[in-house]
Symmetry: C2
Subunit: 198 residues, 2 copies
Amino acid sequence: MINYPNGSHAVFKSKEPKKKNSDTVYKNRGMDFENDINLSLEFFDANDLAIITKRPTPINVVRVDYTHGAKIVDAYFEKQSTTDYNGVYRGKYIDFEAKNTKSKTSLPLHNITPHQISHLEKVIKHGGIAFFVISLESLDKVYLLDASFVISFYKSKERASIPVSEIMEKGIEIKQGYMPRYEILKAIDEAYFHEKNN
Amino acid sequence: MINYPNGSHAVFKSKEPKKKNSDTVYKNRGMDFENDINLSLEFFDANDLAIITKRPTPINVVRVDYTHGAKIVDAYFEKQSTTDYNGVYRGKYIDFEAKNTKSKTSLPLHNITPHQISHLEKVIKHGGIAFFVISLESLDKVYLLDASFVISFYKSKERASIPVSEIMEKGIEIKQGYMPRYEILKAIDEAYFHEKNN
């Protein structure tokens, strides 16, 4: 299975018949995670709390057929060179990447590209807020983990994954509910504005 | 000619034979304008001044052929519901849309969507910096125009375009050079940090 950039999956996967094996279940959970983030962001937008949007998946367009309007007939998904989400909250620039793991022990870093690490470093350098939203599926928990922690972990190259115990220790739990599904803004308040919400 | 979202043009237009009529010349100028913005942003990035990126053009993927890797064989360009550019500079969230006009008298507003206006309003509400970068081709001048001005103009609906005279009066000229091609950051300094650079 080719690893597409986050989100693009949902666009066309729904056209295919659903398989019932456990792999598919996990894939769907990953999709649910992304959908739940998107719904949370829509909630924040609709309630005038923040405007954070998902960057479209970059697609390399090779050929367009103009005979009936403009139909793209040859194109390929590209890796996002930045992160998936950015926007503004409480006057601050927000930038984050969402990662999902089924593992009970660690978050593998191989899905994070050097470009993304470099991008997050720059965001921090220019005064933005940068973090990862990490879903620990096996524990049904979601954490906000500051990007600087992930960057130093990534650069040390000692381990190819971040232990779940460290994510739980250094991260801030993102409470889950109905609306919004993920209380991402409350976690930002706690992590970067030093406010503790209930 | 169908009006594609900014930037997507460049991807495939180069595959077509170049036409020499005046329309093409103007189209290419529009492309040059976008390319020059992109090059300016790369310069700011490379020189650690700001990290502002172009959002990929959203594409609605209808069908993917998996027989040889994953080739998109049916897809369509979509209108950007936000703006083309956003990022962080001096700790502030930056969001802007680039518009080009050949007209000597005014910038038509029909290319600006209600979604974009709504998006820019939200950016301002949440404390971000929002503006338009407007290229007045006939005068070979480029201006930064605060989004709030464009929003009120758009909402008044009295006129379907902003007179060039108003752009020059209310906007801040973006100096043009070699590297960076457009001194966008200096214009931001002047407009939002009340600093006058030379």
